[in-house]
């Protein structure tokens, strides 16, 4: 049972789809419901021990899980396939923007910022394709970004924040260091953001 669950989780995670407890019960655990916790715990330990992946519950109410890479971060090169690497690059830039702007930005502000990088919501991008879909759907579904409607706005506006996967897979410290490196300054230059990374 444990090995089936491990494989199920690996396959789901390949697409970065969050895994619901209901799916695990239905597809894998089935008759062994009583042993659910034990099976899940064992699967989690195996994933850590053999693959260096951690099973994390990102929604304790609705019981939704993701797998995050628990290995110490290494220099980029070998880690992702090319398409992934570029998407992750864009994501890092977006996460940085959100963090530097106080952890929450309006969608209009985000698109204005991306304009500066020649990334437009209406236009097909040569690398990213349909960017609007990538940012508003794919990154949100993968739990890298979280979007919430801003109340009392008409037409409805949304705000973007870091999603739970981003919180687990990277850190404010890493992101601030990234920004500092690009701008050739010391991270302490941004006093308020720097103090957040020390929290």
């Amino acid at each position: 049972q444990v090995s089936e669950l491990v494989q199920f989780l690996l396959v789901k995670d390949q697409k970065k789809i969050p895994i619901k407890r209901a799916d695990m019960l239905k597809n894998i655990i089935r008759e062994y419901k009583d042993a659910y916790s034990e099976i899940v715990n064992k699967a989690g330990r195996t994933l850590q021990e053999v693959f260096g992946l951690q099973l994390v519950e990102i929604d304790t109410k609705r019981h939704i899980y993701i797998l995050i890479n628990n290995l110490p971060r290494a220099e980029g090169q070998y880690l992702c396939r090319d398409k992934e690497k570029e998407k992750m690059g864009l994501l890092l830039v977006i996460l940085s923007f959100i963090f530097m702007k106080g952890n929450s930005v309006k969608d209009s502000a985000l698109w204005e910022f991306l304009h500066l990088l020649r990334v437009y919501p209406g236009k097909q991008h040569s690398v990213f394709g349909d960017v609007r879909k990538l940012v508003t759907e794919e990154f949100v579904r993968q739990k890298y970004l979280e979007t919430t409607p801003i109340p009392l706005t008409d037409p409805p506006e949304f705000k973007y924040q870091w999603g739970p996967r981003a919180e687990k897979e990277t850190s404010k410290k890493d992101v601030l260091n990234f920004v500092a490196k690009i701008q050739g300054k010391d991270p302490t230059f941004w006093a308020s953001q720097y103090s957040e990374t020390r929290a």
């Binding site: 090995s3 491990v6 494989q7 690996l10 396959v11 390949q14 697409k15 195996t46 021990e49 053999v50 693959f51 260096g52 992946l53 890479n69 290995l71 110490p72 290494a74 220099e75 090169q77 070998y78 880690l79 992702c80 396939r81 992934e84």
Partner: protein, 237 residues
């Protein structure tokens, strides 16, 4: 056996993660990766110990019915590595990525390739299958697109308008192919791996990979079958 008892380190885990996300990894890339992982995670590295390194990982993958397998490219004889799921049947691995109709097209293409003499199926023959599919008839244009995706995802490879199974596919589906095409599928007489584009002895029927034939008959003026010793009738590649 000390290798079997060896513990997994972060270097092993990192190697495994990258192998899994690559789908298939060529031999020299795997060696570079081995070095990179050992250096990153500060684990003892010996350049000729890749096989032991992989054995350690495999001993931990075994209870999960998974394995890092080595296969040989039918083009150039180079080694490639892939992470294989031993418990899966046939195309289960592909099941989450493609529709029922696309999977049916793939299975039928696989039939054509394996039952062919030279291990290739022409694009015309495959496209003709498209409107005979049971699940849903596919237009030729759509089938062409699907074939392109199979090539991109490394299940098929294409040469001059003809398709054969990609090395990745052969490594991952070796068990399935050997058991489901028992009468037709052959193992190479030299390296004992499944071979799709094989040369076959006219007398006794054994098969060999083209690169294995090349190596075996190098320098011989009169190539003879290693099993029955009859004159080898095919042109050495």
């Amino acid at each position: 056996n000390t290798v079997m008892a060896a513990r997994m380190t972060d270097a092993h885990r990192r190697f495994l993660q990258v192998l899994m996300s690559n789908g298939i990894t060529e031999g020299s890339e795997a060696r570079k990766l081995h070095q990179h992982c050992c250096e990153t995670d500060k684990v003892y590295y010996a350049h000729d110990k890749l096989d032991d390194f992989i054995s350690t990982i495999n001993s931990h993958l075994q209870p999960l019915f998974m394995q890092i397998r080595k296969g040989v490219s039918e083009d150039d004889g180079r080694a490639h590595y892939a992470v294989v799921n031993l418990a899966e049947t046939e195309v289960t691995k592909m099941a989450s990525d493609y529709t029922e109709t696309e999977l049916e097209l793939f299975r039928k293409t696989m039939d054509l390739i394996i039952l062919s003499e030279n291990g290739f199926a022409s694009s015309t023959d495959i496209l003709n299958l498209a409107d005979q599919l049971k699940t849903k008839k596919m237009k030729k244009k759509e089938a062409e697109q699907v074939l392109k995706v199979f090539v991109e995802d490394k299940w098929l490879s294409e040469k001059n308008g003809e398709y054969t199974l990609h090395t990745r596919c052969i490594i991952e589906m070796e068990q399935y192919i050997l058991s489901n095409y028992q009468d037709v599928a052959r193992k190479c007489n030299i390296c004992h791996s499944l071979t799709i584009q094989s040369q076959v002895c006219e007398s006794c029927g054994i098969g060999m990979h083209l690169p294995c034939v090349r190596k075996y008959f190098r320098g011989q003026t009169e190539p003879r079958c290693p099993k029955c010793n009859e004159f080898w009738s095919c042109d050495t590649p």
